[in-house]
Structures are given as C-alpha cells and as structure tokens.
C-alpha cells in the first residue's frame, strides 16, 4: 500500500493542483475556514448567470466558500440541455419583453421575477453536498416562520407536503461544484403560468424535459414573510455553519466588468441566440396543416436551424413520396418551395410559415413572428 502512495504523485495530472473528484458527501471533506454571502445588485438574468459563471471559473473554493444571492426581473431560464420551444411560449415571452436564458446547469425550466430568490452554493468539488444545502434552507424557513417544509426525493423543497417552492440544479467541474436553487417567496403566479404554457405539440427529441409541479409562494398566507427577511435568515444560517470566526458576513456585489474582468464577455455569450436557441438538442416537429387538406409535415431542427421540411404521406400510401402526395391532394400547391426553409432559424410559428409557402403566398413567409433574439432588458 505504501508503495502505491509513493507512486501516486507521479500519476497526478499536472493540471490538477488540488482536490479529488468527490462522488458523494464525505464527512472527511475539509471544512471551509471562511464563508461569505454575496448579494448581487443586478436584476439582469444574463449578468447574474455570468457572475455565477465567473465565480466558479475564477475562485478557488474549498477554504473560503460562498453563497450567492440573486434575483432577476421577469424572465424564464431553461436548463442546459432543454428545448425552449417545447418548454415555454416563446411568442408570449417576446410580446411581454421577457428574456429567455439558458443556464449551464441541468434541470428544468423556471420562471423568475423579483419575488423569486436564487441561491447558489459554491464549494470545492469534494465538499459538494446538495442535501445539506437544501436542509439548511429548510431549517432557516422552519425556524424563522414555522413553515411545514420538507425536502423530497427529487430534491424539491415542498411546502405543506405538496407544493413546490423550490427547484434545484447543479454543475460539477474538475475542482468546483455549484448548486443553485430557486425559492418562491412572492412570485406573480399568473405570469408564471402564462409563460410556462406549452403551445407547441408534436416535438420529439432527447432534450431534458421539465417535470411540472403545483407551486405556491411562501408569502401566501404568511404575511410576515418578506424577501429581505428570508435573505437574512438563510444568509445567517449559512454563515453560522463553520463557526463564528469563519463568517465574513454579507457583501453587496456590483457585477461589473471592472470588478470582475471578463464578466462582460461571459454575459455576451449567455445572451447570444447561438447559445440560447442554438444549443437546443436535435429535434423534430410534426404538425398538420388544416388549410392544406390536413397534410402532415415533419421539420427536423439541429442547433436551432431547420435541416429538413418534409411532407409525410399517410401510412397506407404505398411508396408515394411526401411531395408526390401533396401534389396529388393539392394540385395548386408548391411543395418544392419548402426547401427554401432549410438553413433558416426555426421558430414557433413554423406551421404558419410552412402553410404560407405551400400555398404560394409569398412575402409574409420568411419572417418569423420574432420569438428570437430576446436579449437583456
């Protein structure tokens, strides 16, 4: 055994200075010597996501760990590998001027507004302990307000055993781990339900799907709840963890490129439609066109761009191609025009565009009812 220990330094990759990849919470993981709570002063979702990104890339956690507290103006955030057109009503978001962002961690789609609190727990990889963080939040809420709070097997925080008040996601890299969660304090639930409506059907892909759940606000029926008090309660519970001498207190943080060099570039990357829409896993969308004798059309999309538009003949049509089928039922249609959609950006009203092209109505076909490029407010 000792010879193996001697041999180990030579197998350590030069890039790895410290820390091993933690596979589970271990009591032996070193405790941090200092803890801070950062309160972001920005309400811009791209800025805050960029700040989260910046911190995990540039900070070496382990001895000094961090809780980042942030809130965003109304927006929707999807998980790393999700399909925005399947998860949200993109037209509504555009009409309401609400940005759509894609985060780096996994998980499902969430609606944010100023009544929603975001908490990000940063630590070294071997200190990553999702369950401990969730229980910390649950304890703070129970002790402060006596809420009936539980943590379920999906790592959701439930109020009264049934209502989801929090969703959780995490990202693990070589040396660092971050775990973030949302907390519904006083969210506009009408806006939430409207934004998370799914108007499109017939989308098939391997993208991760959200699991809808009934939600509730902590403030419902608890008038003494306010955002400031919740932040104070959770922050103090966090800072107390490693003993009094470890607390470095609360710190207001202004996420600017001056204080965080490189932040602006990270923010631009997150706001880029090539990231928000272009990172969508390959999918197909199949729909019927009522105005074209109910012909079925399948659109394939890769990286947010249309790669094929094919009419589908019905199952019993014995070797007839889609185009031939369309010509047979709609002699005046222009199925060959469908090829012009290839290479275009996919958007939610693809059915209308396809129909317009097929019927030969030019002019309005090539402009999507703009549900893209929704950048920071």
């Amino acid at each position: 055994m000792s010879s193996l220990l001697l041999a180990r330094p030579s197998v350590r990759l030069p890039l790895l200075a410290a820390g091993r990849r933690a596979l589970s919470a271990r009591p032996a993981a070193p405790q941090p010597e200092a803890l801070s709570v950062f309160l972001s002063q920005s309400h811009n979702v791209f800025t805050n996501l960029a700040l989260e990104d910046w911190l995990y890339r540039n900070f070496r956690f382990g001895r000094h760990n961090l809780l980042m507290v942030w809130r965003n103006a109304p927006c929707v955030v999807i998980g790393r590998h999700q399909n925005p057109w399947r998860e949200v009503d993109t037209h509504h978001l555009h009409a309401a001027g609400m940005p759509l962002a894609r985060r780096n961690s996994g998980g499902g789609t969430v609606y944010h507004d100023l009544g929603n609190l975001n908490l990000t727990f940063f630590s070294a990889r071997e200190q990553y302990d999702r369950s401990a963080n969730l229980h910390l939040v649950a304890d703070a809420l129970r002790q402060g307000w006596g809420f009936d709070i539980t943590v379920n097997e999906r790592d959701d925080i439930l109020l009264d055993g049934a209502f989801k008040v929090s969703g959780t996601a995490a990202k693990l890299t070589r040396n660092t781990a971050y775990h973030h969660l949302t907390l519904m304090v006083n969210v506009d639930t009408d806006s939430l339900h409207r934004s998370l409506e799914r108007p499109l059907h017939g989308l098939k892909s391997g993208a991760t799907e959200s699991v809808p759940a009934p939600v509730r606000n902590l403030a419902d029926g608890a008038p003494s709840v306010s955002m400031d008090k919740i932040v104070a309660a959770i922050g103090q519970m966090y800072l107390k963890q490693a003993g009094k001498q470890a607390s470095r207190g609360f710190q207001m943080v202004n996420p600017s490129d001056e204080w965080f060099p490189g932040l602006a570039a990270l923010e631009a990357g997150l706001a880029d439609p090539g990231w928000v829409y272009g990172k969508t896993p390959r999918f197909s969308h199949t729909f019927r066109l009522a105005a074209c004798s109910n012909v079925e059309v399948e659109v394939q999309v890769e990286k947010g761009l249309i790669t094929s538009v094919q009419p589908l003949p019905p199952d019993n049509s014995a070797g007839v191609s889609g185009t031939e089928w369309v010509r047979s039922i709609l002699p005046s249609a222009f199925p060959e025009l469908l090829a012009s959609l290839v290479g275009e950006k996919y958007c939610a009203d693809i059915a209308r565009r396809t129909e317009t092209l097929l019927l030969g109505h030019t002019g309005s076909a090539d402009t999507c009812r703009s549900d893209r490029r929704i950048l920071a407010m």
Binding site: V11, G79, R174, H179, T208
Partner: protein
C-alpha cells in the same frame, strides 16, 4: 506479436472473453499498448485501461483511444438524461473540457484524458444516454474516440489497481 500468442494458446479452447482477458492480464505487463482487440467485452474491467482522477478511462487501440466514464462515476451521477460531446475534428489538450453529461442530479463536465484529435463520438447516446449507465466500459456506453498526439501521456495515468486504490481510499 502478442495477438498471435493469444490466438495460438486459445486455439484448442472456445475463444471466450474470460480466456482472452486472463491472458491479457499476463501479457499486458510487458506490452505497454493494448493488443489488437477482436472481441467486444462489456462486463470486465481490463488491465490495459488507464484511468484519470476525473473517473474517466482510456483504452488504446493502435493510435486511437476510446474514452468513457467509469462505472463508479456513472453510478454516482445516477441515470444520465443527456450526453453532449464535442464534434469530431476538434483538437484538445490533456485536461481540456470536451463535453458534459447531465443526470437528474447535476451537469458534470467531461475532460480529455489525453491530448489529441477527437475522431468519433458515440451518437447512440443522444437518443439513449442511459447506455452509459448500462455499459460504461463497452461497445454501447463509450463516449468518444481520440487520436493521440502524445501517447506518452498514458504513462502518467492510473492503472486499474491504482484506480481501485484511488476510489477505495475515499
């Protein structure tokens, strides 16, 4: 070459994966790089796999290495719901991020265990990412193939025994 020896010895027996691997264990001490492998074996960890501290393995076949994550990593992540690997053609250095895997629990980055050019990735995983959990070392659950630019980097990676010691120390 070693492959001839293997075939000769097994000529009188049914050529089974177990037979092959037992001989392989004996031969691999002397031969740094893996013998041409003709069988796909999915349920045994071979002595000629090399491991990184990020719980990835590399299996060399000529100049091309196949890379995946270990059973321990797959088990700790839980069922994978999405796998993303960089496109073939990308040149990477040892330790560069070249993809990510997502499970219900977290998104975890995948790093290149050696420097080189990515030549192939397992496209089955885009529809069925759980293949990684079912067959992490084999024909179904591998992540990508890489043409090594610095084969000597393999020397510094962990052998099976070193990796086993590494994970049991935790």
């Amino acid at each position: 070459m070693a492959s001839v020896g293997v075939r000769a010895v097994c000529a009188l027996r049914t050529f089974t994966p177990t037979c092959f691997s037992r001989l392989q264990n004996g031969l691999s001490r002397n031969f740094q790089f893996a013998v041409q492998r003709n069988l796909s074996v999915s349920h045994r960890v071979f002595a000629d796999l090399k491991y990184t501290e990020q719980h990835e393995w590399v299996r060399l076949d000529g100049a091309v290495g196949t890379v995946g994550i270990t059973a321990k990593a797959a088990e700790s992540m839980g069922d994978l719901v999405y796998v993303e690997i960089a496109e073939p053609g990308l040149e990477v250095d040892q330790g560069d991020e070249c993809g990510s895997v997502e499970s219900v629990k977290a998104v975890s980055d995948i790093y290149a265990p050696v420097s080189g050019k990515i030549t192939d990735r397992n496209t089955d995983l885009s529809d069925t990412p759980e293949l990684v959990n079912q067959d992490p070392y084999g024909e179904q659950g591998w992540l990508f193939k890489i043409e090594l630019s610095k084969p000597e980097e393999l020397d510094a990676l962990m052998t099976e025994e070193q990796y086993t010691a590494f994970i049991t120390e935790e």
